[in-house]
């Protein structure tokens, strides 16, 4: 094949394509070459590059070639693949040449231009991958998202690719990092998805070149599961589009005004529900049912990260906060120990976000008032009845914030929830005048005559009186009954038609049934009015207002935890391979006590490949805590050197949990996808540290730090591969304009016991307090470095970090403290001796008395298993008792308000206490937490050395009590901060 001719043919083709295209960009994958032609082009380019640099008049051919490699890209090494498939490129080609070729392509043919943060970080490979349209490994994920959320499709969604792309982005929080990169360009994703879904639709104008679209569709169809997913998603899309016609237009999908957002939140119906559950001894517990918040993410994409990645505290509930992303997996029931105040937002997320707070404040609060009525149903549960109206012959619990003084009817019942009082009412078969008076006194009304209920099949939720929830896929039918003679029933829908039914032939008490037409998602009001004719006019006998909330069904997926007996809690929700291996991701399994789950671990080099290694671990007994999991994984998998070596070669780790009929979960973790990455390779001569640079910017700077001199960096040449000396070390690469960096610890080669030893030394012989920030930075550098599978690397890191921490604390706590810490670490002194060094009390005769009030043994035992917030509170208590804060002459704390905004004195003490405990246990967590106030925090600690030493003492004492059995991600046992 003549490359010049081929290039010209491609130019003609892309020019014609560009003329036809208006708003849609041209992609290099739309090259219109048949398979044989493509192969010929590829071999011609390879033949050329072996002997000569790429030529300008072959530029378009190279663009097509690079896009084709991008189409098969699976998140591994783009350039490595490119270079290995293109012998001669390393010597004759340049990456920048490819980028320039794409620039030129984009200018000439209105080609696609990569956008979004991902494109900025991966400035060269973003071009070929974007022009690959939908790389193969992302096709199944797109089909999965479209299938899962097909019930949410609406005609409007298909009017604008950007909107469809935003829809996909909104629902892609559980997908791989690469897919999340793809959805950063919503218009492109929307175009691809529209094309895949609506290609068969009459009047559909293909957005992509038909042959290319056909190729992608066929590739998605190649896997049976993808084919099924796409087929079902297409059916749903075609159905929705037909209901409203099809047009591609531009609309503004964002909410620009707060009142619009407010209206939208109300429409989504995220109001929590209250219910009472009976306990032994005529008591009730109060449950708050929190609705699924996942639809908020689609409507308000800006709150996505907070909802998916931060824990949630429920107002009035005790115990641990809800795990990250838990509110996105269907409704959750939480027991309330305290009745929330009227102005409490019921859900509070760790990361504060004013937008989300506004949305939650709109609907996610208790219904205002001082009384709440619950109707006790036949199953024993009491459901909130919002109308505050009772019926004869029924049982209710009335809950009030004020106590009931001499209630005229009913009997008191106990609630296991502070702040409210409850009265049990059992109404007689007919309401007597005494009862009428009593109900009036209790400010309750009577539900009269007219009764409405979901007929045939129950609603998703029904409060027994007039509030209910249905799915959009259903056609609700309501039953109606009136005890009196009624001539006419009028049913009016607030936002739709009404119906009048003559009931003159219907005897009183006989039910009639009404079908309500399918309603769109949102809240709809339906009013029932029963009239009886009275001569010329008619009297209203009874009326009832029904509130119907319509919602979309939640998608099903094989790992769906909703309604089942097993629950897998992952934190973070989509951990990377590195996080899982290094124990920085927590896995908990909630399931029946004592039942077992089997566990299988698989390593793969690429998606769909035969596993590099597959191992069945011994079964685990449920419930399984994250600590138990970490231990199990460590003992039965990580400790095996063979597994550690495979870890270094793998990109994907899958863990299957299978508990017979109870269910199965699969966790899939991929390697981090960052512009700079290190991997290590073992060769006969030793390790090679390999740097993968996809940033495409300036050459990264590369440094090596030895274990012996952990604060001195040796600058290395910027080459992709670095032979590692036998002693190993820390390798760091960084690109300044992206602030991107990567680091890895390479272990030493160990032949005998003497190779295991390591004595780190500091650069400065006598460091001073000015060195504190620098030492903290080095602790952070070593703590954040990635670890290979090899266990020695982890031991070396511990050694270095421990060494740096000891020096850091000799500076903060003073020389004497430093010596005592050293003696404590060598077991020369015990906890008592260390406590003495915190703040000794000198007797008149000169002898030292131990400060027994500083974390006495009993308190330490209690704090050993307590959450970190309790330990902070204990330190605050000590600070206040001993007045350890640095006070000014006017007795006001002079410690800076560390975080957040303006702190009062108490908050300032609490913040300084947490700062002290963090720097004493894991200074790496301070970067985000102290938020620019690090230096002021250090300044405060140096002014309050007793406080600082007390914090450090607490850290070391608890570590000691736990026998220094550190969990992954910890420097000291029992000290793992969440953020």
């Amino acid at each position: 094949m003549d490359l010049g001719t081929c290039n010209q043919r491609l130019r003609d083709h892309f020019s014609a394509l560009a003329r036809d295209r208006k708003d849609i960009p041209v992609f290099a994958l739309e090259h219109d070459l048949a398979q044989a032609e493509l192969l010929a082009l590829e071999s011609a380019l390879r033949a050329h590059i072996r002997v000569a640099p790429p030529e300008r008049n072959h530029q378009i051919a190279w663009v097509v070639y690079a896009a084709e490699i991008g189409y098969g890209y699976a998140g591994d090494e783009y350039w490595q693949t490119f270079e290995s498939e293109t012998p001669g490129w390393k010597s004759n080609g340049r990456r920048e040449w490819i980028r320039d070729a794409f620039f030129s392509f984009q200018r000439q043919f209105s080609g696609a231009k990569p956008s979004g943060p991902w494109a900025e970080h991966f400035s060269i490979i973003a071009w070929p991958i974007t022009h690959a349209i939908l790389p193969r490994d992302l096709q199944q994920q797109l089909a999965w998202v479209l299938y899962n959320y097909r019930h949410w499709f609406s005609a409007e969604l298909f009017e604008e690719p950007q909107r469809l792309g935003e829809f996909i982005a909104g629902w892609s929080w559980g997908t791989s990092a690469r897919f999340q990169n793809l959805v950063q360009a919503p218009a492109l994703v929307g175009q691809i998805a529209s094309a895949l879904l609506l290609q068969a639709e009459e009047g559909f104008k293909p957005l992509l070149y038909p042959a290319t679209l056909k190729r992608i569709s066929e590739d998605v169809d190649r896997e049976r599961r993808g084919r099924e997913w796409l087929r079902s998603a297409r059916e749903a899309a075609e159905q929705r589009v037909r209901t409203r016609g099809f047009a591609i237009g531009r609309t503004n999908a964002t909410f620009e005004r707060r009142d619009e957002a407010h209206a939208e939140v109300i429409r989504l119906g995220i109001e929590p529900r209250l219910l009472l559950r009976p306990l032994e001894g005529s008591r009730f517990e109060v449950l708050l049912e929190i609705p699924d918040l996942s639809n908020l993410m689609f409507h308000f994409p800006q709150v996505r990260d907070v909802l998916a990645e931060s824990r949630c505290t429920v107002s009035g509930a005790v115990g641990r906060p809800l795990a990250r992303g838990r509110c996105l997996h269907g409704s959750q029931r939480v027991v309330l120990a305290d009745w929330p105040r009227p102005d409490d937002v019921l859900l509070k997320f760790e990361q504060s976000d004013p937008q989300l707070e506004f949305l939650l404040r709109a609907e996610c609060m208790l219904r205002p008032g001082t009384s709440w009525l619950f109707r006790v149903a036949s199953d024993g549960l009491a459901y909130e009845s919002r109308g505050l109206r009772v019926r004869a012959g029924s049982k209710y619990v009335l809950v009030r914030t004020e106590p009931f003084t001499c209630p005229p009817v009913g009997s008191s019942v106990e609630l296991t929830c502070e702040g409210v009082h409850a009265l049990l009412l059992e109404t007689p078969a007919a309401i007597t005048p005494d009862w009428e008076r009593a109900l009036k006194e209790l400010q309750l009304g009577q539900a009269k005559l007219v009764e409405v209920w979901p007929a045939g099949l129950s609603a998703v939720a029904w409060d027994g009186e007039g509030h209910g929830e249905w799915l959009s896929s259903e056609t609700p039918i309501l039953g109606f009954r009136c005890d009196h003679v009624v001539d006419e029933l009028t049913i009016a829908q607030s936002d739709g038609p009404s119906l009048s039914i003559s009931l003159s032939d219907t005897p009183p008490g006989e039910p009639i049934f009404v079908e309500v037409p399918s309603l769109p998602v949102g809240i709809h009001n339906l009013s029932f009015a029963a009239r009886c004719s009275n001569g010329a006019h008619s009297d209203l006998v009874g009326d009832l207002e029904i509130i119907m909330r319509i919602r979309e069904p939640r998608p099903w997926s094989p790992s769906s935890i909703l309604r089942g007996p097993l629950e897998l809690r992952l934190d973070p929700a989509a951990p990377t391979l590195e996080q899982l291996w290094e124990g920085k991701a927590s896995i908990e399994i909630c399931g029946p006590d004592g039942r077992q789950t089997n566990c299988k671990v698989r390593f793969c080099a690429r998606p769909g490949d035969v596993p590099l290694l597959e191992r069945e671990l011994p079964p685990l007994t449920m419930p399984l805590s994250s600590e138990e999991w970490a231990r199990h994984f460590e003992i039965y998998f990580k400790k095996d050197d063979k597994h550690a070596n495979v870890y270094d070669e793998s990109r994907i780790l899958e863990i299957d949990f299978l508990a017979d009929e109870l269910g199965r979960f699969t966790i899939r973790c991929e390697r981090e996808f960052t512009p700079l990455r290190w991997t290590i390779r073992r060769e006969a001569a030793g390790f090679i540290a390999c740097l993968h640079d996809d940033a495409g910017r300036e050459d990264p700077s590369v440094h090596r730090f030895s274990f012996e001199r952990p604060t001195i960096g040796e600058r290395l040449l910027t080459t992709p591969e670095h032979p590692v000396p036998r002693s190993g070390g820390l390798y760091v690469a960084g690109v300044s304009d992206l602030r991107a960096s990567a680091s890895i610890i390479v272990p030493p080669i160990v032949h005998d016991l003497s190779d295991l030893g390591c004595e780190p030394r500091l650069n400065a012989p006598s460091p001073t307090v000015e060195h504190i920030p620098e030492l903290v930075r080095f602790v952070q550098l070593w703590s954040a470095a990635k670890l290979p599978g090899n266990v020695i690397a982890e031991l070396r890191r511990r050694k270095v970090v421990g060494f740096l921490m000891a020096h850091l604390w000799a500076l903060i706590g003073g020389d004497r403290w430093g010596r005592k810490e050293d003696e404590f670490s060598r077991e020369v002194i015990g906890i008592g001796g260390l406590r003495l060094a915190v703040s000794s009390i000198r007797s008149p005769n000169g002898s030292e008395r131990p400060p027994t009030d500083i974390f006495p043994r009993e308190l330490l035992t209690e704090l050993q298993t307590a959450p970190l917030s309790h330990r902070c509170a204990a330190l605050v208590d000590l600070i206040e008792r001993r007045r350890l804060m640095p006070y000014s002459a006017r007795s006001r704390p002079i410690a800076p308000s560390l975080h957040p905004v303006k702190s009062n004195g108490d908050a300032s003490t609490a913040k300084l206490a947490e700062f002290a405990l963090r720097i004493a246990s894991d200074p790496a967590t301070l970067t985000l937490w102290a938020d620019g106030e690090f230096n002021r925090g250090i300044e405060s600690l140096l002014k309050a050395p007793t406080l600082a030493r007390a914090a450090r003492f607490l850290v070391l004492a608890i570590d000691n009590q736990l026998h220094s059995a550190v969990q992954p991600g910890e420097i000291y046992a029992g000290w793992r901060w969440s953020a």
Binding site: L279, G319, L457, S458, S498, P553, P565, D660
Partner: protein, 362 residues
């Protein structure tokens, strides 16, 4: 909006459940099972009372005998729990306190394949969405609470297709796993030994016992409150919310002396499964075994039972037969004639039941 008559309500809702309104209504076992699956998909985890209520309440004005409808719903739910659509498990406690409440959970969407290629579908997805494609969904055969799929032309790879769709495959052995057959006397002795080893109990509120002296043919009539009873009894304790707790209790003049709870720690069976099995052993040991009846009907036979059977036994009959209404019995299955001898042996060896002969009485 339009007014519907009761027949139209039945037809519309049966259609919504994916069933044939020409053949079924909401008061048939298939209709009730469909309504229960839908309720499970919205409400679980919850108590059985909550599920029964949510199916029975909407039938107001649509069935002639609400009490009979309620019984049908309760029996169907029990059959679905035994079958494996619904799982009874202790409620998970966040604070590690011992869980006392037994709640019902939806089993994950799963399937079992018989050697013939026939697939038995199990489990319920949230919001009653089918994990199957619409084409497979249309091919489901409903028989009482049982759902089956037959391969087309006998060659279709249903197993592969369902796995691809993400359904969990349970092996035949896992689904039908049952205790190792032992003699009734050994079963009783094992429970007695376990009871001997626990410390004495105090009063047990809400205790009801199964009185072995009462006739084995009327299960509901065998339950009584302990009065002057002395001996060891299968018993249950009512819960304010959630299923009854099952136990084996030693009484002295009606006063509890010792008690062990069912199920045993880590058991995959429900408390009632273990309790019913023990009661079968107790009755057999007392020479008044529980009974079953075989009624020939053409080239099949109906097996009738008069006391509840453990889930593992019912699953076996769900797999080989089809549930049919049992006139005068607690539940019944139509079984192919070729399987009858095998099932007679199973009833005798694993459940210690005795076959009723014509004219026999209890």
């Amino acid at each position: 909006m339009r007014r519907l008559n009761p027949e139209e309500v039945h037809a519309q809702k049966v259609r919504e459940l994916g069933l044939d309104p020409a053949a079924l209504d909401l008061n048939t076992p298939e209709g009730v099972a469909g309504a229960l699956r839908r309720a499970v998909s919205h409400l679980c985890p919850c108590s059985s009372a909550t599920l029964v209520r949510s199916v029975v309440d909407p039938l107001r004005g649509l069935v002639s005998d609400p009490e009979q409808a309620k019984n049908l719903v309760q029996d169907t739910l029990e059959a679905m729990i035994s079958y494996g659509d619904v799982l009874e498990q202790p409620e998970f406690q966040e604070d590690d306190s011992p869980a006392a409440r037994l709640l019902l959970y939806a089993a994950p969407a799963s399937f079992v394949v018989r050697q013939s290629g026939l697939v038995i579908l199990l489990g319920i997805a949230a919001d009653h969405l089918s994990p199957l494609g619409s084409e497979l969904e249309r091919r489901i055969q409903y028989s009482g609470h049982v759902r089956r799929l037959s391969p087309l032309f006998g060659t279709e790879d249903l197993r592969g297709e369902l796995r691809e769709l993400g359904l969990l495959e349970l092996t035949w052995d896992t689904w039908l796993r049952c205790p190792r057959p032992i003699a009734a006397s050994q079963a009783v002795a094992a429970s007695n030994q376990a009871l001997d080893e626990v410390p004495p109990s105090r009063d047990i509120p809400g205790l009801q016992i199964l009185d072995p002296m009462r006739p084995v043919g009327y299960y509901r009539g065998r339950w009584t409150e302990p009065k002057t009873h002395t001996g060891r009894f299968v018993a249950r304790r009512r819960q304010t919310y959630g299923a009854d707790l099952w136990c084996y209790v030693q009484l002295n003049n009606g006063h509890p002396q010792r008690m062990i709870d069912f199920p045993a720690f880590g058991s995959r069976w429900r408390g009632c499964d273990e309790a019913w099995h023990l009661q079968m052993a107790i009755d057999a040991n007392r020479n008044s075994p529980q009974l079953f009846r075989v009624k020939p009907t053409g080239n099949a036979a109906v097996l009738e039972f008069f006391s509840p059977a453990p889930a593992w036994a019912r699953r076996r009959w769900d797999a080989i037969g089809e549930p049919v209404p049992g006139a005068g019995s607690l539940f019944a299955y139509r079984i192919p004639e070729t399987e009858i001898e095998e099932e007679r042996r199973f009833a005798s060896d694993a459940l210690w039941l005795e076959e009723m002969t014509t004219g026999s009485k209890w």
